[in-house]
């Protein structure tokens, strides 16, 4: 009851000084708005990355070459490719948990001539299982089969970007393209997977049987970049990882004391790595935005201090007619809290609106979650308490006799 009345007193004082209140709140409004927008951008990027990793396929395990160890000096990840076609075949033959296994042989870029012009795209050499592992359908034609691979047939499947650049709207299935002077037949077109978070076009490449790639394009710039495999159930993933590790250590002839020269990771671990980056980015953005919230808090403290001086006489009157020091303290504290919470609420409106605007005009993925909103409200209330306390205590400590005499 008493608190409610004091809130009313604070509310009246805020309404009586509309302009000053608005200017005071502006710092908090901008601070909270900025934090929400920044976090929304960060979260948006994060959820996009996560979606892409889910897009890679289900129950997938990725083997990548690790750092080679030359005489005890680490050469860094991927510094020396120790993955071979044989490794992939060994896993395929020996593993119990792996359902499908495909090596991924990739060259840098190849010149592709066909249709209406020419285009540069990277080549991927895989086995037919690749389609299953990555859950990647064709929009037209078909994926190659085991026979194509065995015979190293000169067949190729194009990504959407390549199709658009060479054939426009036409269906290229059955057409002939020349890849680095080797004529090949287009047998299919892959579904579009769009861009990755870091802006890589996932459709700008061509796929061919790994044997074809080895026979026709194997050179200095060709290596096994990954071995992909999937398991039957999610529960098998850690078992498959252990198993693959054992198989590869044996295949690479690693002694007991030697570290792995490859890495076996599942999707979760991949997304954790990616999330780590965006989390750092989100935290950084939020930290920068928090500074404006801090500045807003200092603004409140400044105004409250001015207000206490300006209202010394009022404080004197209130004390003379029976207000305790704690009543005066509460009044000023509530005033600053109400101001900062009100500012926080307007800041949330600004943040949510701003995020939506950025999402629609800039095409950025933004995600405002309730957690951020709750934290923003709590934080602005905390700002009100923290920065309102000193001026409020100053008011409460006034001597009523002096305060009444104050001109």
């Amino acid at each position: 009851m008493q608190a409610l009345r004091l809130v009313k007193v604070a509310g009246k004082s805020i309404i009586k000084n509309k302009m000053r209140t608005l200017l005071t709140m502006l710092g908090i409004i901008i601070g909270v708005g900025a934090v929400i927008i920044m976090v929304a951008i960060g979260e948006g990027a994060q959820s996009q990355i996560e979606e892409q990793i889910q897009n890679l396929g289900t129950n997938m395990v990725v083997v990548t070459p690790g750092s080679a160890n030359t005489s005890g000096a680490s050469q860094g990840a991927g510094s020396f490719s120790r993955l071979t076609i044989e490794d992939a075949e060994k896993i395929q033959n020996e593993s119990i948990y792996a359902a499908n296994v495909s090596p991924v042989l990739s060259s840098f870029f190849a010149q592709i001539v066909g249709g209406d012009g020419n285009w540069r795209a990277s080549i991927l050499g895989v086995t037919p299982e690749y389609q299953e592992i990555r859950n990647w359908g064709t929009t037209s034609g078909r994926f190659f089969d085991a026979q194509d691979n065995r015979r190293a047939n000169k067949v190729v499947i194009l990504g959407q970007t390549v199709v658009e650049n060479l054939f426009g709207e036409r269906d290229p299935v059955g057409e002939r393209v020349i890849v680095n002077r080797v004529p090949m037949e287009v047998i299919g077109v892959l579904e579009s997977k769009g861009q990755t978070a870091d802006g890589n076009d996932q459709d700008d490449f061509i796929v061919m049987p790994v044997q074809t790639a080895l026979n026709r394009f194997s050179g200095r710039r060709t290596f096994i970049r990954q071995i992909l495999l999937n398991t039957y159930t999610p529960e098998d993933i850690p078992l498959a990882q252990e198993e693959v590790r054992a198989i590869l250590r044996e295949s690479h002839g690693l002694a007991e004391w030697e570290a792995d020269d490859f890495e076996v990771r599942n999707q979760e671990q991949l997304s954790e790595a990616a999330q780590g980056t965006t989390e750092v980015m989100t935290a950084l953005l939020a930290a920068i935005a928090s500074i404006s919230l801090l500045v807003g808090g200092i603004g409140i403290m400044n105004i409250m201090l001015v207000s206490v001086t300006e209202r010394t006489r009022e404080i004197g009157i209130r004390m003379a007619i029976g207000a305790r020091g704690s009543d005066v303290l509460t009044q000023f504290l509530i005033e600053s809290i109400v101001m900062s919470i009100l500012g926080g609420a307007l800041g949330i409106a600004l943040g949510v609106g701003g995020s939506a605007l950025l999402g629609s005009t800039m095409g950025w993925a933004t995600a405002v979650n309730t957690e951020t909103v709750v934290i923003a409200i709590a934080f602005s209330a905390a700002v009100g308490i923290f920065f309102g306390f000193y001026p409020a205590r100053k008011a409460a400590a006034l001597n009523p006799i002096d305060a009444l005499r104050f001109e």
Partner: protein
């Protein structure tokens, strides 16, 4: 009738201030009592210690020595918070500069002490405030802001604010210091009227003009009481009537156009 209650009992009150290196003895042993229903004027030149005495009686300050009972409560032994409650429940303040809250209506100003009343004696704040304003003759001005009221009316709001808690004592510090002579008489007439209704009033003033309306005069000099006399007060209401009659006459003769605006 039973014997009248003692509202104030001050015994050998002393107050010493440290001003730099010198000690200032503002009060040097003051003894006096105020009974229920009295209208007392405390007089004295500036520096006589009357403000210090008023601050102690008003519960705004502690004496350095001596004891002070208000309504039987030994005020000088109370904590700061208890003192605030005594100020709230037992004392009604009227100040020289009115000291109303700006941009706050007469009603809200009058309600203010009830906001801090922890005894919760009064349930309906605005009704009590309205009654107090009616008592001082401002029942038709409850929604006016202080800057929409004349000086006399503002002081009436302040008196209403002092009355709203039904205090044992109304303490008025130079209540007419900022008022012209006509308004002074008006306010004094109000104090006399309230006193007739049984309100105990203590006025602090340096003007004989004001003191002559009190039933008793206590005069201070150099921190001591030098005079404590009972007197038959002049009637402020009668003086006001005469004053108005005289003015009306003068106006008729000199400036028949200029009507007094209050």
């Amino acid at each position: 009738m039973s014997e009248k209650k003692e509202v104030i009992r001050v015994r050998d009150i002393r107050k010493t201030y440290q001003m730099g290196k010198t000690k200032v003895h503002a009060l040097q042993g003051v003894d006096f009592s105020v009974m229920e229903g009295e209208l007392v004027a405390i007089m004295g030149a500036s520096g006589s210690g009357k403000s210090t005495l008023m601050n102690i009686i008003g519960g705004l300050d502690y004496p350095s020595a001596g004891s002070y009972f208000l309504d039987g409560i030994e005020v000088n032994k109370l904590s700061k918070n208890e003192l605030a409650d005594v100020r709230n429940q037992k004392i009604g303040f009227v100040f020289q500069g009115f000291n109303l809250l700006a941009r706050t209506t007469a009603l809200e100003n009058t309600e203010l002490p009830l906001l801090y009343d922890r005894s919760k004696r009064v349930k309906k704040h605005s009704e009590a405030a309205k009654k107090a304003l009616e008592r001082v003759g401002l029942g038709n001005r409850i929604d006016h802001l202080p800057n929409e009221l004349s000086g006399g009316q503002q002081q009436r709001v302040a008196i209403a604010r002092a009355l709203v808690t039904n205090p044992s004592l109304v303490l008025a510090d130079e209540p007419t210091g900022n008022l012209d002579s006509k308004t002074t008489v008006e306010v004094m007439a109000l104090f006399q009227e309230l006193n007739d209704e049984g309100v105990t009033i203590l006025l602090v003033t340096h003007e004989d003009e004001v003191a002559r309306y009190a039933k008793r005069i206590v005069e201070l000099r150099d921190g001591k009481i030098i005079r404590d006399i009972e007197q038959t007060p002049d009637s402020a209401a009668k003086d006001l009537e005469e004053l108005l009659a005289r003015r009306a006459q003068n106006q008729e003769i000199e400036e028949p156009e200029a009507a007094e605006a209050d």
